[in-house]
Assembly symmetry: C2
Homo-oligomer: 340 residues x 2
């Protein structure tokens, strides 16, 4: 598969088939030199083909050292997120066999939707350094400045009715929250249905879109926007008080490609389990990570609001709210405010 | 709005803005002559513009008589379904303000999906004389030979979560079954979830497709294929034993444009009520028209089957099946066979 790095405006970089394999090999050598001759032998290509691939990788921003008689060695990956760099160090089963990266797109969701309609493989990932028209739920804007976050969409093709798709929103939030909690020691919590928060501020939003027949999903685009290296002044005024980033919370910058890889690996683990064993595990983890359950909430819906204690998550992803009169009301959509 | 009649292959007929108004006026005169001068006056256009519109209507297949000193009169509409002819005699609130007709398309669903993505108005209708790749549920083929049926798709933009979309499948089946029962005296029955049957044979299939966020539908394409004038030999061998048409059941041919108009009017009535008052009315009518409720059924699903007595329709459109052990099981998708 020939995929692309670069901006969307016809400056797409066309991959040389060998690049990914050579990158894997050099990464695997952990800084040791690998001879051009050995690579040419391993892959059954000419030394000139090896040289071309290395040149191409350097052009993408990889630092690859070379030394006469010793060969090439991996020194550093680009700071920005490059599809090939993610793919080459992922080791997943479904997610990210192809990672298509862009400098800038209107929205990764739309690119993923187009690729999905054209029949791309399940697990194809779209990621962009910046989005010019990043979207949140219900058509709201999502700030996605260049080089600060992970703005990504994943194409899924689950065999399920449309009613089950909210479970994949929960799965996405669980994957991000788990990585933040377990691999980066944040106290990450999930706010129903799709926000990951740290210290009460939103650090990540998740969003799923679907194309379906009435009883069978054709594809789902699971998207998330994770704030990594923003400083406070980088947020638009209207969200500055409620948003945060990994950097703001810890006072240090993070390696975005590595954060992204970890989220994709966790997503893959969760999704493979989900496909094989159903949603029980996702729902359980969601409940454990929730900052909504047990709280007095007000859920604003299209047709009014529901207020009460958030008691549980229903099997279909609905929030079960116990109203004042003691009745239990499942809420399938809306915006939650914690009342007290 | 400039819409199209003709085949899809770039021979689209471009409408003259005045055609629809002139057609309405002539139809309204019920065979009486209307002078060109009067029309030119009414619409504030030149007599040459009136003449051009009449010529264009004739080219589309309308029979319009003319007589020196008396003017023009409506004699007959084309036998085939022409968008303009449907629009001009509809009087609906949401459905069919624009009816886009084609001689042949791969699938009206796909054309409607494209127009919906491009932002067409709610209620836009796509209809084709024949489909080369007509689809049924779950990607199955749907036979749609030229000039025999009504193959149509309607673009809807309801404010609802994806889980409620099956109700629109029920609404579509109800609209068709009601027209067949009440206006054409068929004993039309609905087989869960989306078939209309007469004497146990399928006369119409309904299908909804959707594009949505996890909690908000962006658009729904409600489609139906109604067998009108097929003879038995026109059905593919694999469905000949289970399919029927209006003509087969009554031994006479039917006016397809008129059948189509009646279905669109009924759909409009049902949909306007649905938007204002919810799905209660649709569910009630569905139950009244059902040939599934009360029967011993077997529902084949992706993940196995459920067998028992079909007891009721759930509020979300699921079929509630009472299993042998007395437990009630809601089934959201699958194929129903009546066991006995």
């Amino acid at each position: 598969m020939a995929y692309a790095t670069g901006t969307l405006d016809n400056t797409l970089h066309e991959r040389i088939p060998m690049e990914k394999e050579i990158l894997k090999l050099l990464r695997h050598a952990e800084g040791a030199y690998v001879s051009g001759q050995a690579m040419s032998h391993t892959f059954g290509v000419s030394r000139s083909a090896v040289w071309k691939s290395v040149a191409s990788l350097r052009k993408m921003g990889f630092r690859i050292g070379s030394c006469a008689n010793r060969g090439y060695r991996f020194e550093a990956a680009p700071e920005r997120i490059v599809g090939l760099d993610i793919e080459a160090d992922l080791d997943t089963r479904i997610i990210g066999q192809s990672v298509v990266s862009f400098d800038s797109v209107p929205s990764t969701i739309d690119v993923a939707g187009s690729l999905a309609s054209e029949g791309c493989a399940e697990g194809t990932v779209i990621v962009a350094e910046s989005q010019t028209g990043g979207r949140g739920r219900l058509g709201r804007k999502w700030s996605s400045p260049s080089g600060c976050g992970v703005w990504a969409s994943i194409v899924l093709r689950p065999a399920m009715p449309p009613r089950d798709v909210p479970k994949l929103t929960l799965l996405t939030a669980v994957a991000v929250a788990k990585v933040l909690s377990e691999q980066y020691t944040f106290d990450a919590r999930i706010k129903w249905p799709n926000d990951v928060t740290v210290n009460g501020r939103k650090i990540c939003g998740a969003l799923t879109e679907l194309v379906a027949e009435q009883d069978a999903v054709r594809h789902v685009i699971a998207s998330f926007g994770l704030n990594v290296n923003q400083t406070p002044s980088m947020f638009p005024a209207e969200v500055a008080a409620i948003a945060t980033s990994m950097r703001i919370e810890k006072g240090e910058q993070f390696d975005r490609p590595e954060v992204f890889r970890r989220v994709l690996r966790e997503f893959d683990t969760q999704y493979v389990h989900f496909k094989q064993h159903g949603s029980g595990n996702v729902l359980k983890q969601w409940r454990d990570l929730s900052c909504t359950l047990g709280r007095h909430v007000r859920v604003q819906m299209r047709e009014g609001y529901v207020e009460g204690i958030a008691r549980d998550l229903d099997d279909d992803g609905s929030l079960i709210v116990e109203e004042k009169d003691g009745s239990l009301r499942p809420v399938s959509h809306g915006d939650v405010t914690i009342v007290r």
